[in-house]
């Protein structure tokens, strides 16, 4: 069966299309940062950075970097008009206090009911590092994951139960992948959209998991 996978940039565009005007959003390190490239247009979206920035803007032009103004990935960024700086406890109060509308994170694995594993492979000798992942996962009003759905070996990253150490239980609401967009519910996965050329049964076979059909409303939209 021939089906085109969504590129990282296409997944980022798909995520961005679901972010509403006025949303306050935290984009995790790695693939989620690509979402910022697709937030243009009439929408005003406020980006939060864990190290104390609201209203984060794009990368500066070459030669205009300021190393007191960096994002969570330690890359130079800019500040938009209206932006603000604050200390770390306030920054994490924004997450933990439920003030962020959406966070978009990468993942190693997500369970069908929304458990997230994205901080540690648990391999012997691996040095663990958690950063703000656990705070974001439980604190944002909605936690979305953006990832390729299969490993390079073809194993599904969507699983019945995570084998990697957990970041948080039942926190993931949506998964934006290269093959599909899905929702995690207490009853398991539900399809939102699927790439052209891949039928539902084949997709379930790739994941090795049952996936409920897209809700009528989502179908109508597609």
């Amino acid at each position: 069966m021939a089906y085109p996978k969504r590129s990282k940039d296409e997944i980022a565009r798909r995520v961005a299309s679901d972010i509403h005007d006025g949303a306050v959003v935290n984009l995790g390190i790695g693939m989620p940062t690509l979402v910022a490239n697709h937030l243009g247009g009439d929408r005003e979206v406020v980006l939060h950075s864990e190290n104390g920035i609201l209203g984060m803007g794009p990368s500066p032009r070459a030669g205009e970097e300021d190393y007191d103004l960096i994002n969570a990935g330690k890359q130079p960024v800019t500040l938009l008009p209206g932006g603000a700086f604050f200390h770390h406890a306030d920054s994490f109060a924004m997450m933990r206090g439920g003030h962020l509308d959406i966070c978009v994170l990468g993942a190693f694995q997500v369970s069908a009911t929304g458990d997230l594993a994205n901080w540690h492979t648990g391999e012997p000798g691996a040095i663990p590092a958690v950063g703000g992942a656990m705070d974001l996962a439980v604190g944002a009003r909605q936690t979305w994951v953006m990832m390729e759905l299969l490993t390079k070996q073809g194993a599904s990253k969507l699983v019945r139960q995570c084998s990697y150490p957990l970041t948080a239980i039942g926190c993931v609401k949506r998964i934006y992948g290269d093959l599909a967009t899905l929702e995690c519910t207490p009853a398991g996965l539900r399809l939102v959209d699927l790439v052209d050329g891949l039928d539902h049964e084949s997709f379930e076979a790739l994941l090795g998991l049952p996936v409920a059909r897209a809700a009528a409303a989502a179908k109508g939209r597609a």
Binding site: R96, I127, P165
Partner: protein
């Protein structure tokens, strides 16, 4: 008369004992008090417990303190980075203890210490390895984990401007952990680029009030902008 201005980094850090718990501000390239860390290496205190978001980058600053073998334990959220080779080596050799703390718990445990709060319940980390063995409670319909306050003997922070009462302002994202660490330590030493006369800092813009600061040390301005240009904003009038 209150005068918290130290004549040198060495004077400000002279009484640091072996075994001290030292909070060090900074996140990535922003807000790292390199001159103060250098002073701590010179001063020679050993068996330190260090609290920082990371575990040292490259060969300078905190990484140099680790490389000098002065740190017994590090409490941080994100030790593993592309350039954390000194920590990586010490950790793999079993020569440094690591307490890994989710970043929000780290900030809030520090804030709690500064605010006289013994501990707090939070949903962060519930059901994960980092909450193993900790007390849990169902509060507001969510399972939460008990986390204790994190105190320090000494905090080293980088600020932008200060006055002799210890009032501080910061610059951009260099603020990060500075204000909460200043509250949590028995003694806080802040480096500043400019020392202003009392009253010259806009009281509406003071971020860390002097009550949380014991010593300030003026250090030579280092450029944080590309191309080695000093910070773009001019010093305020009256400086």
């Amino acid at each position: 008369m209150i005068d918290k201005l130290a004549t040198s980094v060495a004077e400000a850090l002279a009484d640091t004992p072996d075994g001290a718990t030292v909070m060090v501000g900074g996140f990535g390239t922003a807000g790292i008090p390199n001159e103060l860390i250098g002073g701590l290496i010179e001063q020679g205190a050993r068996e330190l417990t260090v609290v920082n978001n990371n575990a040292g980058n490259g060969d300078e600053g905190l990484a140099a303190l680790l490389a000098a073998g002065r740190v017994r334990k590090i409490i941080c959220s994100f030790p593993r980075q592309a350039d954390s080779w000194h920590f990586d080596r010490l950790y793999r050799e079993g020569r440094i203890e690591l307490e890994l703390v989710p970043q929000g718990n780290l900030a809030e445990r520090i804030r709690a210490a500064g605010a006289g709060i013994g501990g707090f319940f939070t949903p962060t980390g519930y059901g994960t390895e980092l909450a193993k063995g900790k007390e849990t409670r169902l509060l507001d319909g969510r399972w939460q984990v008990f986390e204790t306050a994190l105190h320090a003997d000494l905090a080293l922070i980088k600020a932008e401007r200060g006055d002799r009462w210890g009032n501080l302002t910061y610059r951009k994202a260099a603020r990060n952990f500075g204000p909460v660490m200043a509250m949590a330590a028995a003694k806080t030493v802040a480096s500043v680029y400019d020392v202003l006369p009392l009253g010259a800092l806009d009281p509406e813009a003071v971020v860390t009030p002097g009550i949380f600061v014991q010593r300030i040390v003026q250090v030579a301005r280092t450029a944080t902008a590309a191309g080695g240009v000093p910070n773009p904003e001019p010093a305020p009038r009256g400086a």
